[in-house]
Symmetry: C2
Subunit: 276 residues, 2 copies
């Protein structure tokens, strides 16, 4: 990150608004005086705001993300109600620029790990292959046609290297193509060998009318987002692209562990009693 | 940290127990299923538990700390209801070992900052002096006799370099002398020029009977600490020393800012409405 001029910022855990997410989780909030403060689901909107800073071209944050998933995810092997996310965002960049950065980062991480931690990898009986660049790129709608709803798991199991999947219909802040409605300029990075989703990200919406249209389409209550929306309205939020990856999912993949709780010091597995 | 073999661990924000702290703050907790999960006030007890790990000799964690202080602290210039703490703990070490590590860290940070950020320091019109080792060491009871209750502020204002103050009556987990009851083997590092407290830490209690005695003296409800106490009872928690410093207070001192909110991206000042 330092080499690339990506500045580290400290996380916040409590704010009037947080990531609305693409799927339902139980509300996690506390009351302080007259304010409802929501626990951070991701730093997404706050990282957009950080990039308003003059001379701040890119940021990263390592932050706890709290997502109170239901007990259904208990055995997925890759869900925690609290995990650590490395969130990155770059000003004035498109999706390919972020994908390139991510590929470079993953290649460095895996090559570095093989070099510095051979004993640890041997302990886990894990043979890792440094990924080949550029990673393969798929379109989600093609995968859906070819493999059906379970495409992610099927292709992840069939692959030996991480790959990209483009175009996911999700949160309001991921950029939808102006001319081709329903096409999203976003991406997921998927781990091979059945380990599934590694990273999500995209180019972002920063034009007020688009942001409002998409929040309304998603029937979102705009009220908690007031201060953020005012910055968008004033044109202060820059054009960006970015993404975030979970630290524990990365560890699960590199160690080849079957459940994420095996590589987490204090695992918070959905529906499971938390001891420590 | 890397040079010293101090391993970085990820923080947790939700747990059945957290730091009881030495002063009253409003409760911050959420409900998940049948469990009450408390927001992290500090990683103190979790870092003791991390050091149970074989081959884990020292750890550090950068974690958000949530402390819902009352509005009274609004104008102190150095309180936030959420801040980032760098928490460090070392196995089998005494207080002097931790104080030495801290001094080395602060000397490196200040010398490094002067070298790499001259423009930023000029922007803040800040002339920093690299501290001289060893830092001065005072005893709190002597300072109390000499300056009265306000000793910290008085001596901080009168000093031009950071200094140590030993022996503070506080949380159950700081080691009390076996032969000299009421004497605590702990320390605060105090910034000069009126900036006040930088870091708190100490040698720790790890003997079950002492832990229980001190929790009872403090009229603590032991119930939430059940799993931790069981580890202490089984003798699994090692002897350690450590401490933690606030990132924003460090920034306030190095920039010479009057209020901590000036050096915090998303300030959460006690009693003040949170906008973003």
């Amino acid at each position: 990150m330092e080499e690339k001029g990506i500045l580290q910022a400290m996380p916040v855990m409590l704010a009037p608004f947080t990531d609305p997410l693409n799927h339902e989780v139980s509300e996690a909030a506390i009351q302080y005086g007259s304010q409802t403060l929501r626990l951070t689901k991701s730093m997404i909107l706050h990282k957009f705001i950080m990039l308003m800073g003059k001379g701040v071209d890119a940021v990263f944050i390592v932050s706890p993300n709290v997502r109170l998933e239901s007990e259904d995810c208990k055995d997925s092997g890759r869900h925690l109600i609290e995990f650590s996310q490395v969130d990155i965002e770059m000003k004035g960049k498109d999706k390919r620029a972020f994908m390139d950065l991510t590929e470079e980062l993953y290649v460095k991480m895996i090559a570095g790990l093989k070099h510095t931690c051979p004993d640890e990898l041997a302990y886990f009986r894990r043979k890792l292959t440094t990924p080949t660049r550029p990673f393969k790129v798929y379109e989600s709608k093609e995968l859906l046609r070819k493999y059906g709803e379970g495409w992610e798991g099927i292709l992840s199991k069939a692959s030996s290297e991480p790959f990209w999947v483009l175009d996911h219909t999700r949160e309001f802040y991921d950029r939808e193509d102006e001319k081709r409605r329903g096409y999203y300029h976003n991406y997921d990075l998927i781990y091979p060998e059945g380990f599934g989703e590694a990273l999500s990200g995209g180019e972002r919406e920063y034009v007020y009318d688009e942001v409002i249209r998409k929040m309304d389409e998603r029937k979102m209550d705009r009220e908690p987002y007031g201060a953020y929306l005012e910055l968008v309205r004033q044109g202060k939020i820059p054009r960006t692209s970015g993404g975030g990856f979970g630290v524990e999912r990365l560890l699960r993949w590199v160690t080849g562990s079957s459940h994420i709780e095996e590589v987490t010091l204090f695992p918070r597995v959905p529906g499971k009693h938390i001891v420590i």
